[in-house]
């Protein structure tokens, strides 16, 4: 198992702060967006691109690359923020979010911006596509991995369970799924809207090897995600316990910030919140 040094942890936390600043930059441009689920998955996606995945921003279609599939496409603010930070495209493009014909639509389009691998947004599609990618790179003899981020509310879509069965049936042990368990969806707490419990047992029953972590703890994310397959011949899954809108003091764990229509006061507060994180990180 990979072990992050303290310096590496701090570095990743700084990257994640910058990613949150990029998210806020896009919200400032459009005054609205699916910030809640983006911020709950921001640490995971940052860790993937900055420590775990084998990608080359200068050669985004490199066949031996690792793939990232954002099954919950509405979290794309986090993906755009990370891709810009990683150098897949110019940061100025972030300021076009929400504008007519922006290259950064409200759900990602692989033909509009480099680094995006799939056109998601309709929940419940990502895992099948990721499974096909995992099968394809395996046929090619590449050791590439496929990483997926799903929402917890998204798990109610039956198509996910078709894909879950197929990934384990075809022994796709080059795939790692993160379930961003922020425990909220549009209408309220996920287990009240449509319960997925027992979450871990369900995935295990479908033939997956499962771990559970704190999805905001860089050490836990990286140490676990660099260790796949968890079991040979099985697809791997991490239940990441997270907080929706993580980083925004006024919005954390609040269902009505799923889609944030930002007031000027909230944006001001968000900036203060991120500056506070920066101060904390500067002090080690």
């Amino acid at each position: 198992m990979y072990k992050l040094t303290n310096e590496e942890v701090l570095e990743l936390e700084k990257e994640a702060l910058q990613v949150r600043r990029n998210v806020l930059r896009m919200i400032k441009a459009s005054k609205a967006g699916h910030a809640g689920g983006a911020l709950s998955s921001a640490d995971i996606i940052t860790a993937l691109y900055f420590k775990i995945m084998r990608v080359d921003p200068k050669n985004p279609k490199w066949p031996q690359r690792d793939r990232f599939v954002l099954s919950a496409g509405h979290k794309c603010l986090a993906l755009y923020a990370v891709l810009a930070e990683k150098g897949f495209f110019e940061k100025e493009i972030l300021d076009t979010y929400g504008k007519l014909k922006s290259r950064l639509p409200g759900h990602p389009d692989m033909y509009k911006i480099p680094g995006v691998e799939t056109n998601t947004g309709a929940l419940g599609h990502g895992l099948s596509i990721a499974g096909g990618m995992a099968l394809g790179v395996r046929m090619d003899g590449y050791d590439s991995k496929v990483y997926v981020v799903m929402g917890d509310g998204e798990l109610a879509e039956g198509s996910n369970w078709e894909a879950a069965a197929a990934c384990s049936h075809h022994k796709l042990d080059n795939i790692l799924v993160f379930v961003d368990r922020n425990r909220l969806q549009i209408s309220g707490p996920t287990v009240k809207v449509m319960s997925y419990e027992p979450l871990r047992a369900r995935w295990e029953a479908f033939g997956w090897s499962v771990r559970e972590i704190d999805g905001h703890n860089m050490r836990e994310i990286v140490d676990n995600a660099t260790d796949i397959p968890f079991e040979k011949g099985k697809p791997s899954l991490i239940i990441a316990n997270t907080i929706k809108s993580k980083g925004l003091s006024f919005a954390e764990d609040k269902v009505n910030y799923h889609y944030w229509k930002a007031t000027p006061e909230e944006i001001e507060q968000a900036e203060k919140d991120l500056n506070e994180i920066e101060r904390r990180l500067a002090n080690g």
Binding site: N119, T120, S128, G131, G132, L135, A165, A166, H169
Partner: protein, 313 residues
């Protein structure tokens, strides 16, 4: 009427799949508990490592096909027509169409060829719904020779394709010199009084109707309009100008099928009287296939009657 050789469209598809499989190592076959019935057995035998079974999972299989295509594979997915079109429509739209993936979907036992199994197994809206997806090619080949040529053409074509085939044996109408090209209709027989545009599983019904009409002194231009999308606008307008009347024949709903596609062109470019032969807005009945076609006016003598009245000769 001449003697015709009859061939199984699914077996023909399966033979062609092996041929293109030999030519293109990127081709893989995906099935949803449907491989034998779709003619995939020879492919499986020849390339066991390139055939993937997914069980009864038609939404999932479209997504997997999309993902495989992102890695340069050319997936052929074949299953019962409604279950690879209506059932996973959104996967078809987003994962294949919007993502522009090089996947070939083959719906078999299309139309009412699964006659006695009833409307759950009929596919009378596949062309209507799939042709709304930007960038997807929709083809309904008219005889076994064309099925083979279509499989070769779509293997070469880059992008998502939907092909529909039936299940009863079809007469071989064309010879090896027949030329199929995506997006091009073929004038099979020239004539001046009326153009009949037929397609797919009932193209041969239109073909024999044209013979009947010819014997009655009506000069029919017969067109095989196998590609419904992109539709051959030029040929449609040319036929409208030269014969003045157009009849379409298809084993599909009148809503959204070949007739609609032709009417969409003519309404904009050259309004022309039309007759559309197909199945009206209803769940089709059940029973023996040929009798069922007769119930909807799709037998050759019925088509000939309809055309004769329309022409007024």
């Amino acid at each position: 009427m001449a003697e015709y050789e009859y061939k199984d469209p699914r077996k023909t598809f399966g033979e062609a799949l092996v041929e293109v499989g030999e030519k293109y190592p990127e081709i893989v076959a995906l099935s949803a508990d449907s491989s034998k019935g779709s003619g995939m057995a020879p492919f499986h035998e020849k390339f066991p490592d390139r055939h993937f079974e997914f069980g009864i999972m038609e939404q999932g299989v479209i997504g997997f096909a999309s993902g495989l295509a992102t890695t340069g594979k050319i997936p052929f997915v074949a299953a019962i027509a409604p279950f690879v079109t209506a059932r996973p429509f959104e996967m078809f739209r987003n994962d294949l169409g919007y993502m522009r993936q090089n996947v070939k979907v083959v719906g078999r036992c299309a139309g009412i060829t699964y006659s006695d199994l009833g409307p759950t197994h009929h596919s009378l809206e596949d062309v209507a719904i799939i042709r709304t997806i930007p960038g997807v090619v929709v083809i309904s080949p008219g005889d076994p020779v064309e099925i083979k040529k279509v499989v070769h053409a779509i293997a070469e074509h880059k992008g998502p394709v939907y092909v529909k085939i039936g299940s009863p044996k079809m007469p071989v109408l064309f010879d090896e010199n027949y030329k199929f090209e995506i997006g091009k209709g073929v004038v099979v027989k020239d004539g001046t009084d009326v153009t009949i545009m037929g397609i797919g599983t009932v193209f041969h019904k239109a073909y024999f109707a044209a013979e009947i009409l010819e014997n009655k002194g009506i000069s029919v231009r017969l067109v095989n309009m196998a590609t419904v999308k992109p539709i051959d606008k030029e040929l449609i307008v040319k036929c409208a100008k030269e014969t003045g009347k157009i009849v379409t024949v298809e084993e599909h709903y009148l809503i959204g099928g070949l007739g609609s596609a032709v009417a969409e062109v003519l309404a904009r470019e050259h309004p022309t009287p039309m007759k559309m032969i197909g199945i009206d807005d209803q769940f089709a009945s059940n029973g023996p296939y040929e009798e069922l076609l007769g119930l909807y006016g799709l037998q050759s003598d019925q088509i000939a009657d309809t055309v004769q009245k329309f022409v007024g000769k």
